[in-house]
Each structure stands twice: as C-alpha cells, then as structure tokens.
C-alpha cells in the first residue's frame, strides 16, 4: 500500500548525554602511579641515592648484633630509559668481553642468581667503581655517576631482579640470550642469604 508520509512535529533539541569523565580521571590517576617513573627520561639528573652505596654492608660477618641493612633502592630500578641506557653502555664498553652478555666467561655470569659481592644496586655499583679481586677493573673516574647506576640497574635486570615492565626487550642484534622481559623475577632474598664466595672455605 502506498501513502504519503507526515513530517514529525518539531522535537526539542536533544540534551547532552552523561559523560564518562569521572571514570577516565580515576583510571588516569591509577595509571599515573605505575607509569610515571618508568617513562621518565632523566637527561641531566643524578639519582638521589648516588653517593649512598657506601652505607651498604658488604659482609655477613659482623660483631655483636647484626645491624639492619640499608635498604636503598635507586630510582633507576623502575626506569625503562635508564635500564636501556645501561644495556647500551654494557655493550658499547665491552663488558661482554668478560661477562659475555651475562653468560659469563672470564668473568662470572651476571644472569644467574649467584652474587659473589651482593646483588643490591649499591653492591654492583661498588663492584664497578672499585673493581674486585681476580680481574674486575675499577672504573672509578671513568664512568659517570648516573651511568654507573644505569649499568647496575641493567645488570640486575639481566637476572630478573628489576620490575618486569621496565626491563628492555630484545636488542637489534643477533640473539645471544633470552630477552630480559621473559625472565621471571628472582627470589632476591634467596640470593642475598647465600654467603659471599670470598668467605666460604
């Protein structure tokens, strides 16, 4: 059947719909907590804990009551840019010459859970700056302070000690190791409780 059609009566202007803004703001705040640190690119800053590595206890043997270890975390643990810089420096300064991208060779492996001199960032910074017996050179004065903390963060990431989302992905080179992002977080406590190799008979 065919008929003609009537126009509708003029309708009132549609009112604006409710917005989901409050939900989005909430999500933003939550995300802020997790991502702000990871994505910072600090070009000029020196990490605030830079000079405090001297406060870390190097040995298990202490007279009297055991003092609490200074639990200092550098801000680079969660910083993807810093760990990526650490990776670059590790490769460019030929740390692989002895440590072979973490697998070890002349030097000990860095991607396992055995830490001769401790796995805290301060320990690793001390290792790099002071050198160690049996061949680890001292890079004091040769490596700037932010860079040594970046290297320490990278070394820790090689054995899965840093948060997963800040670790680097694979490099654009031939594949020589499992990429850091696939590593499961190590039991750092377990690594710390092993006595240093230098004090075992």
């Amino acid at each position: 059947m065919v008929a003609s059609c009537a126009p509708e009566a003029v309708r009132p202007t549609p009112t604006p719909s409710p917005r989901a803004a409050p939900l989005l703001l909430g999500a933003a705040l939550v995300a802020c907590l997790s991502s702000c640190e990871r994505e910072q690119r600090r070009f000029s800053e020196v990490p605030p804990t830079a000079t405090s590595y001297g406060a870390v206890v190097m040995s298990d043997l202490q007279p009297g009551t055991r003092t609490t270890e200074v639990d200092v975390t550098t801000t680079y643990e969660n910083n993807a840019y810093a760990i990526s810089e650490g990776q670059r420096l590790f490769n460019q300064w030929n740390c692989s010459g002895c440590h072979a991208h973490g697998g070890g060779g002349m030097g000990p492996p860095l991607m396992d859970d055995e830490w001769i001199y401790g796995s805290e960032p301060e320990n690793i910074v001390a290792t790099i700056l002071e050198g160690r017996p049996n061949g680890m050179p001292s890079f004091r004065g040769r490596v700037s302070t932010p860079q040594v903390w970046q290297l320490a963060a990278y070394v820790r990431s090689m054995s899965g000690l840093t948060p997963k989302d800040a670790r680097p992905g694979r490099t654009d080179h031939m594949q020589y190791k499992q990429q850091e992002q696939s590593k499961k977080p190590e039991d750092a406590k377990r690594a710390q409780e092993a006595p240093p190799a230098s004090v075992t008979p």
């Binding site: 000029s44 300064w93 004065g141 040769r142 490596v143 700037s144 860079q147």
Partner: protein, 352 residues
C-alpha cells in the same frame, strides 16, 4: 619580507645548487612551480567563473540549467578538461622520469646506484662512466645517534681516515658516499648537492655527489631518529684538490704530542677521566669507537654534530654540560675542576 629574504639565503637551501644533481632537481622544481601555478590559475579561474555564473542565476531567480544541450556541452567541456589534465600529467611524468635518469647518469659525473638488500653478493656493482680526475673518492658515512662517522676509503689500509661530523671533498671530483646506519634510520642529506638518502640498518646504500664550486655546504639528518634528531647536522666542505690533499694528509697524521705543560696535563686529564671510554685520539692509548674520533678536533668547524661553533668557550660548555645543550645526547656530564678543565681545553684545542 625578512622571512622570505632569509629563506633565499639559507645554508640548506634546495634551490641553491652547487652540484649537478641538485642542479637537475632545482630545474625540475622550477618547472613544476610554473606548471602548478598555471594549473592552479586555470582551475581557480574556472571556479571563479562558475561561482559568478551560479550566483548570477540565483540573483536573477532563474532556474538551474539542466537542458540536454547544456548537459552535453558541459560533458564535452569536462572531457576536454580531463584530456588536458592527462596531457599535463604525462608531461609531468616525462619530466620527473627524465630528471631521475639524469641523476642516475650525468655525462660528466658518476651514476647514483642503489645496492641490493641484505643478502646481495658483497661488493657493489662496478662504477660506470668516465670520471675526470681519476677514480672517485669513496667515503663511508655511518649515521649514529646523533652524530656522523665518516670513514674515507683507500686501497692502502693505513691511508684510511676516520673522522666525524665533517666531510671534506675535492671540488669537481665525484664522491661515492656509502651510507649505512649503526642504530636507527637516519638520512644523509646535503640539500645544495643532492637529495637525501635514508640510512637503514642492514642496508648499504651508495650516493654519488659532486661539488662544482668550493664552499661549505651544510647537511642535516632528515629522518626522525630520536631525541636529538634536531641537532644532528654536518658540514660538507668542498675545496680545491690541492687543499683537499693537504687536509687529508694532515688528518692522517696521528695527533701531535702536546708541547706545553698545560696541554700535557690536559692529556693526562683526558686519559684518566671518562673521555677515553668513548673517544679515540690517534697516537695515544685512547682508541674507543663509541663516540666521535677526536684526533683532529681543533680542525673542525663545529662541535656536537653541527650544533655549536668550535670555540674554546663552546667546547668547555659542551664538555661540562652536554645535556644542557643537547638533552638526551649520549655524552654524560663531566665534573672537572677549573684547572683540569682549562688544561683539557688547551690539549683539545691543540689537536689540529
């Protein structure tokens, strides 16, 4: 006004060619400007006439013209316009392809070649054509974040020269630039000499240049490559063959041992600080290839890949606070005592 004048005399002006390829491209550009101008003028005129006609019809209250005759006439006009467009496009295509071939082969210069993708047999296709002045000069330019490594090729290995951020070439002689990248995609571009060529990791690409008059031609990286893409530039200095030879010999020589005590102390500062971790100075134990080669730092026009003029003050600022000048650059800040800094500057400024 000042703006357009400034654009007429810039160091990277495309329409100020100093070599045959840039010359061909500039000519194509001029041809296309004229063609585009004419096409735009015709289309805008047609638009104006249509608007005027349509408006007149509306003002007079006339009905729109949909007569079969009118439609036929309009159809024919559009057909004609489409045919004219096709002709213009064909002329354009011929001009573009011819210019492209001219770049690939100029009677007096060398061809522009592209090497194959990774996996192609090693060694590039043999050079073609006559080369006045003897065999072409070959330079391997490696783009790195955010500087340029130049390595002059020579049949005698001891005469290969590695330098950074500055390319000297002899006037009138074809130069074969082999571009590659160390990390991300960069692009080698000297507007006054030739178009750009992307430096893609895994590819070695050949670009031929020739400067036909002496001068300093600035080049800049033309592919976004990270934080300091904006400050990744270099100079191409075209000089007479004699001057070039002089420059080459002086660059081949290892650095002169420092003569005065301040410079000697400066050398010690260099060797005992972070500098040796990244920089090489020929004739000393410093041999790292992470950063630019500094053997003849004082002979260069600029610092930090074309960012700063090479003066004592700028060098001091660059050493002490590179992140303030080029935030994100790979060079760390260096805290030095004023005495050490002065000595270091004396030493570096002696590396001519």
């Amino acid at each position: 006004m000042a703006a357009s004048v400034a654009a007429c005399s810039g160091p990277q002006r495309v329409l100020d060619p100093a070599g045959p390829q840039a010359e061909h491209i500039a000519r194509l550009a001029t041809f296309l400007f004229v063609t585009a101008g004419i096409v735009c003028a015709i289309v805008f005129a047609a638009l104006a006439l249509s608007v005027q006609n349509g408006r007149r019809r509306a003002d007079r209250g006339e009905a729109p013209d949909e007569t079969p005759d009118g439609e036929r006439r309009r159809g024919r006009a559009i057909g004609l316009a489409a045919a004219a467009t096709t002709v213009v496009l064909f002329v354009y295509l011929v001009a573009a392809v011819r210019t492209g071939r001219a770049l690939a082969w100029t009677a007096e210069g060398g061809p522009t070649e592209r090497a194959g993708p990774p996996g192609a047999p090693p060694g590039l296709p043999p050079e073609r054509g006559p080369f006045p002045g003897g065999a072409p000069l070959t330079v391997e330019v490696t783009g790195r974040q955010w500087w340029w490594e130049m390595k002059y090729d020579d049949p005698t290995p001891s005469r290969m020269l590695t330098t950074a951020n500055e390319l000297h070439i002899p006037v009138g002689r074809p130069v074969r630039i082999v571009t590659q990248s160390y990390d991300v995609i960069h692009s080698f571009w000297v507007p006054k000499l030739h178009g750009k060529q992307d430096m893609i990791p895994g590819y070695k690409n050949v670009l031929w240049l020739r400067a036909d008059r002496p001068g300093v031609y600035r080049g800049q990286c033309a592919e976004y490559c990270g934080h300091q893409h904006a400050h990744m530039a270099f100079d191409v200095i075209a000089e007479s063959p004699a001057e070039f030879a002089r420059w080459y010999e002086s660059q081949l020589a290892p650095s002169a041992p420092p003569t005065d005590s301040s410079a000697q102390h400066g050398q010690t500062v260099f060797m005992s600080n972070a500098c040796i971790m990244c920089h090489a100075i020929g004739g000393t134990p410093a041999a790292s290839r992470v950063g630019p080669d500094l053997t003849h730092l004082a002979s260069r026009r600029t610092l930090a890949a074309g960012t700063l003029p090479n003066t004592r003050g700028h060098l001091a600022g660059w050493i002490v606070d590179p992140q303030g000048i080029k935030p994100g650059a790979r060079m760390p800040s260096n805290q030095l005592t004023p005495d050490d800094l002065n000595a270091l500057l004396d030493y570096l400024r002696s590396l001519k």
